[in-house]
Point group: C2
Chain length 195, copies 2
Amino acid sequence: MSNHPLIIHITKHVNLTEAQIAIVLSRFQLQTFAKKEHLLKEGNICKNIFFVTKGCLRLYFINEKGQEQTIQFALETWWMTDLMAFEKSGESGFSIQALEKVEVMVITHESLEKLLLEIPQLERYFRKVYQRAYSASLLRVKYLYTMPKEVFYEHFTSLYPEFVQRIPQKVLASFLGFSPEYLSELRKKKTLEKK
Amino acid sequence: MSNHPLIIHITKHVNLTEAQIAIVLSRFQLQTFAKKEHLLKEGNICKNIFFVTKGCLRLYFINEKGQEQTIQFALETWWMTDLMAFEKSGESGFSIQALEKVEVMVITHESLEKLLLEIPQLERYFRKVYQRAYSASLLRVKYLYTMPKEVFYEHFTSLYPEFVQRIPQKVLASFLGFSPEYLSELRKKKTLEKK
DNA sequence: CGGATCGTTGATCAACTTCAACGGTCGTGG
DNA sequence: CCACGACCGTTGAAGTTGATCAACGATCCG
């Protein structure tokens, strides 16, 4: 039995033999990145997918106004890549950056394809991973449509209070979809209300 | 060889034997719905997933102001369900309605689970389906964040000009995330520009 | 210690919503 | 097949929300 975070996560969804566990672990590579370091830069070929074992990542792009727009975070046990570019091994439309010192398990698209053929149970595992990610993404779209930004802010901070502490406000503002100035105003409003 | 749309779609991604094709087809049920008819109503248990073979569907919910908010369409060869509720066989947060006369292939969650165990290649097929859906959804989130609504409107109408003709304006407006009145204004503006 | 970046504040402005009223059209029952 | 009612799309006025810009103080990092 392995107690590696990746294996723990996989075997929550499918069973693997000891031999298969060994194969899986042998195909991934452990990498660490310092705070603010890039795992992928916009315009580069996206060869890798990352499984976060420590720290956190952000996925962002530069919008037409030249500002960084964060659209995704990844904490421990989350997968992260520019999925569209990864699948085609094409140019990425996003950058991936470490928000803190991170530890990730990395595998290339090519290796992963081989691994999926060798261990077909992994298809089931990834089917479940993507299915959850997709349904979460739809829920998020629902929120983006209907929640006034103020409510979206409250919602997010009450769901992930510790996480909100860890990241720069401007990154949070851009993820929530509004300007840093407006976030500032909301924070002020909230602290006044509490008194 | 079957030339059923569902089988054609599956065998684009994975190979199936004749026997397996027969099994797959036997587990799905063909259903038709009239325009405006509901395939699922908000609050009901979501037992089914639908594969559209003719016509089109919308996924929507009622927001806090009591208005219908459409967040997803499904055309031919698209899958449709309230994925989160489907996976848990729980109460749906969405309704699914036919925008035109539709033909769908239906399967229950229970049947699909059995089928996946019998024909493991289908795990690979659904892995790919969800992976694409997820990456498309992320791209959509990107658009929602950055595109001014006017640009989003142009983008959508140029991508799906025929489709825009087929659906009521208020449904389109809600999908694009703005009021029918504003859509009206945009349309007027565009037709003036063309002259 | 020094420079650059970050968060805050206030003023102005644009995008989009809401509301109310009107004409057109769609589909339903007679 | 027609007539009526309901709903849909359009228009304009008034009101909100949140962006932008500029300026300042704080803080982080080298």
